[in-house]
């Protein structure tokens, strides 16, 4: 195998290892030897025929496979894909190091495609598509070179550059066609597949993604992924973008027990005190008509109006996401009102009936919220006793350190400080003293106690839980809320996009005057904000930001996105004609591009023809000197063959043969060698 092909195959395997690395599923300490063995393959290939060499590789394969089987037995299906990725990576490196007369690289090519396919379940970062963009031309060049070598035609000299340029052109065409198929091919975006719900079990904990749930459990240190899947889109029908709600609540949690929080599932709160509070605060929903409900005073529901659409139809039980404070809710057809159940804590649950499912689209509802006043008007707090459930504390489950810190921070404040000073002091202490680690990052605390003691970082749930329990320790009523904090605002379509990765938890403190106040203890730098506004960014950051935006659009593509893409395509000719009508000079640009392309093509043809001319001129001169007429349709070799039968003396025949050979070399072999 030529060195050139071996180098490209080596690059292919390196890219596969990078794919595995970007998922974060395989530890770097296990990948480093694979990188080393890959880079050493041009040297190791000389030992291919040795039994010991082949035995060592086989032994390694058995070791990795044995690890997979052992983990399967110990942890079940959870580590299946992680270990499988490592096994695939090992196989790639092994095949690379054993390619030769007895081992074709076919398996290497197929395996090299399988690895990005599997890693796509674990990672949807921009890094994935960046590596894939490098992978495609390397794959095409490798296939081409292998095909040439298999036919006994290895490339050399300028033909290598030719082949590489051709492969790059083909890569571009291939990627563009793939993009077109991806954008326009009709498909069911909500398809569950034959495996259905069991798929996430099969993926294992490594493929868990950050998202919203009805439970909050602390202590899970498995890595999760950031999913770009769109949960819902909220189109602003009336109002100003400045009034966009930041926090969209799905669940509220009151009772902390067994190291976790549980949300309400039924129509009535379990805790009678909490139910009484809800009734007194009139925070329960009031039905207005068959499809509409209202929470809070009607006069307060005068802010922005949204139309919200869930991105996909999910037929299991789920929650609507609503901003804090009063709001009016209307369920849009074709969903039946019975599917929606407003809950006393101010949240709303819904369940699809099978007939309600729309292809690729979920529930739609309209929401009118409260306007964002600088000092939000709240509700008068009820007497302390009604706040009882929001002060519930099982001290036997509290880490002592947590209680001590709460009292230390409160003690550092002036005596009889207002509640909001205490809240702010605790919030600031948490933000400054504890490390924020996202669920995708390793090093998180294994329990609340570890987090409070500083033995590991934590994400928003840890910060929110710690603050909520500290506040209750100090007698400040509060609850924990979870939902989403969206980051994407599209000013053109006036749409707020909420993705799974935007899931967040925060604390709501019951202020005796202002009512429920949102307090977010997660450090400010990690707090998401609505993007899409113009911010001062350098050109490089803008470019990366734009690339990330495009990639996220692709990774979270859905039926609505496809519909938009089709509409844009349909509008394209009309837009083009309209632009031409407005300004005919715009026609000059595509014409100029076409003329330039044609000129380049013709120039290349002329150059190619001209390169042959000196070789032809020399040959013709030789013919003239030998007194041979210029051949008509015969090639130089045909002419030589016809003179071999005796029409020329030996010396002339030799000169003619030499001239023919030189002509062929100059003209077809890129010059004398």
């Amino acid at each position: 195998m030529s060195l050139l092909l071996r180098i490209f195959l080596l690059d292919l395997v390196l890219l596969d290892l990078v794919f595995v690395q970007v998922t974060g599923q395989a530890p770097t300490r296990l990948l480093l030897p694979l990188y080393a063995l890959t880079l050493a393959s041009p040297f190791l290939v000389r030992f291919q025929d040795r039994l010991l060499y082949r035995a060592a590789w086989t032994l390694g394969l058995f070791l990795v496979f044995g690890t997979l089987v052992y983990d399967l037995g110990r942890q079940g299906l959870a580590p299946l894909l992680q270990d499988g990725l490592l096994l695939a990576a090992w196989c790639q490196v092994q095949v690379l190091n054993q390619i030769g007369p007895k081992q074709r690289p076919d398996l290497l090519f197929f395996n090299s495609f399988l690895i990005p396919l599997v890693t796509s379940f674990f990672s949807q970062d921009l890094a994935f598509i960046a590596v894939f963009a490098l992978y495609v031309p390397v794959l095409l060049i490798s296939l081409q070179l292998w095909n040439l070598e298999r036919g006994g035609l290895p490339l050399a000299g300028r033909k290598v550059a030719w082949a590489i340029r051709g492969a790059l052109r083909r890569s571009t065409v291939l990627l563009l066609l793939t993009l077109a198929v991806f954008l326009y091919w009709p498909r069911d975006f909500g398809r569950r597949g034959w495996v259905g719900e069991h798929f996430e079990e099969l993926l294992g904990s490594g493929a868990k993604s950050v998202g919203f749930g009805d439970e909050l459990r602390l202590g899970d240190t498995d890595l999760a992924t950031l999913s770009l899947e769109v949960v819902l889109r909220a189109r602003l029908l009336e109002g100003r973008p400045e009034d966009l709600p930041v926090y969209w609540t799905g669940n509220t949690f009151v009772d902390y027990r067994d190291h976790g929080w549980q949300a309400i599932r039924r129509g009535r709160l379990l805790d009678p005190l909490e139910q009484r509070f809800a009734d007194e605060q009139a925070m329960s929903w009031k039905r207005l008509d068959a499809r509409s409900w209202q929470r809070g005073p009607a006069e307060d529901c005068d802010g922005p109006r949204f139309r919200i659409t869930f991105a996909t139809a999910r037929w299991n039980q789920c929650k609507l996401f609503l901003p804090a404070g009063p709001c009016a809710l209307a369920i849009l057809p074709p969903a039946t009102p019975d599917t929606v159940v407003p809950l006393p804590d101010g949240t709303v649950r819904y369940t699809y009936a099978p007939g309600d499912l729309q292809e690729g689209r979920g529930l739609r509802y309209e929401l009118r919220t409260r306007g964002m006043a600088p000092e939000p008007a709240g509700l008068q707090a009820a007497p302390t006793v009604a706040t009882g459930p929001f002060l519930t504390l099982r001290r036997d489950e509290l880490p002592l350190e947590l209680r001590r810190i709460a009292h230390d921070v409160a003690g550092s404040l002036p005596p009889r400080s207002d509640q909001h000073f205490v809240v702010e002091a605790l919030r600031a202490h948490l933000a400054a003293s504890y490390e924020y680690l996202h669920p995708t990052q390793p090093g998180r605390a294994a329990s609340l106690a570890d987090f409070v003691a500083g033995r590991g970082g934590g994400h928003c749930e840890y910060f929110a839980t710690t603050l909520a329990l500290m506040l209750r320790e100090l007698g400040i009523p509060c609850r924990l809320s979870s939902g989403y904090v969206p980051r994407e605002w599209d000013p053109a379509s006036r749409t707020l996009t909420i993705r799974k990765r935007d899931a967040h938890s925060w604390v709501e403190v019951l202020d005796p005057i202002a009512g429920w106040m949102i307090v977010d203890p997660s450090p400010a730098s990690e707090q998401p904000g609505v993007t899409g506004d113009a911010r001062a960014e350098g050109p490089w950051q803008s470019l990366i930001g734009e690339a990330r935006r495009l990639w996220e659009g692709l990774a979270s593509f859905d039926a609505e996105g496809r519909a938009r893409a089709i509409r844009s395509l349909e509008k394209l000719p009309g837009l083009f004609l309209a632009a031409l009508t407005r300004n005919p000079l715009w026609l000059a640009l595509p014409l100029a591009v076409a003329v330039a392309a044609l000129t380049v093509l013709l120039h290349r043809r002329r150059v190619r023809a001209a390169a042959a001319e000196p070789a032809v001129a020399r040959y013709l001169e030789t013919l003239r000197r030998l007194g041979i007429e210029r051949p008509d349709e015969r090639t130089p070799r045909e002419l030589l063959a016809s003179y071999r039968e005796g029409a020329l003396d030996a010396a002339s025949l030799g000169r003619l043969a030499r001239a023919t050979e030189l002509h062929e070399r100059d003209r077809y072999a890129g010059g004398r060698t």
């Binding site: 796509s120 495609v136 290895p154 198929v181 798929f199």
Partner: protein, 329 residues
């Protein structure tokens, strides 16, 4: 005519794609899975289109074959024309009858075909005979090797493969050649007659000197063999022979014919079905070689060859050994 078929890699790719499709159907919808599936499908589809486009407009032909010796690699010339655009990874393949069936033989290949090009290739050795060329194809599996596209090109109808000529000393005078041939034939038990004695001439080899006769005469004399003095070498081939001596006789004839062509001499062949002169002043040697390629032995009861000069070289050789010939050697 254009043909297209998947290669082994192409079949493997189809199986792989089928498995991917099954995985796609089994799992919940994922944008990236679909993207990669679409990529692979586009790769296969474009691979087919590019392969077809690579041979579009390709022209060429296989050049006529000169008669070729048996059991030796055959030189083949062919001309390829890429058409308007350069073509990549083009090879020429012949389908021909090799006496035992149909054989596909790769004549030659070129990595990048930019201009009209005359090339040479090599075919594997063929047995003696007239081998029909069924078809000639230009083919390519460019760019990825998943499919093989073939286009038919004109080719000669046959390859004439004559017997492998016995090796003779190049440039030697006929007398020496015949002497050498005679010695070989005598060694093999041939029936060869010395026709007489003559004076030693400049250029005669010392080993040809008949020392006993020279001692008797007092001057150097050499043995003269049948046919040596004649202007045209006459050869009589009796085809009523076993296969092995018959083939050997054909090899001798091939050697003599090629030598006559090289030196501009004439060879007169008398045999069942032929009584012709070939070479200078006669039919082209090519026809002799053609006849040699097709010649088959006859049964013993078949008629003898036509009468020829008694001084002609007689083939095939037999095991009878004339006493004079034995004494002469």
């Amino acid at each position: 005519m254009t043909r297209i078929r998947p290669t082994r890699l192409g079949v493997e790719a189809l199986i792989f794609f089928t498995l991917l499709l099954v995985g796609w159907l089994a799992t919940p919808y994922s944008n990236l899975f679909f993207l990669l599936l679409a990529f692979f499908a586009c790769l296969m589809g474009l691979g087919v289109l590019w392969a077809l486009g690579n041979l579009r407009g390709v022209g060429g032909r296989v050049e006529d074959f000169a008669p070729q010796p048996a059991r030796q690699p055959i030189l083949a010339g062919f001309v390829l024309d890429p058409g308007r655009r350069p073509k990549e990874q083009v090879e020429v393949v012949l389908e021909l009858d090799d006496g035992e069936g149909t054989q596909r033989a790769r004549v030659g290949a070129v990595a990048v075909l930019e201009h009209r090009t005359a090339l040479e290739g090599v075919l594997p050795p063929l047995p003696r005979g007239i081998h029909r060329i069924r078809s000639a194809w230009v083919r390519s599996s460019f760019p990825f090797g998943g499919v093989l596209v073939q286009r038919r090109i004109p080719a000669p109808e046959r390859i004439v493969v004559h017997p492998a000529p016995l090796e003779l000393r190049r440039g030697a005078p006929r007398s020496l050649v015949l002497a050498e041939l005679g010695e070989r034939l005598v060694t093999a038990g041939a029936r060869v007659q010395p026709s007489g004695l003559r004076e030693f001439r400049q250029g005669d080899e010392a080993r040809r000197v008949h020392w006993r006769a020279s001692a008797r005469r007092g001057s150097l004399v050499v043995l003269e063999w049948d046919g040596e003095a004649e202007e045209a070498l006459e050869v009589v081939l009796d085809r009523r022979a076993d296969r092995k001596p018959f083939e050997r006789a054909l090899s001798v004839l091939a050697a003599l014919g090629l030598r006559a062509q090289e030196l501009g001499e004439t060879l007169h062949l008398c045999s069942q079905g032929v009584d012709l002169a070939f070479g200078e002043g006669g039919r082209p040697i090519r026809e002799l070689l053609h006849w040699l390629a097709e010649a088959e032995p006859l049964a013993p009861e078949d008629p003898p060859p036509p009468p020829c000069s008694p001084a002609a070289l007689r083939l095939p050789f037999t095991r009878d050994l004339e006493p004079e010939a034995r004494r002469a050697t």
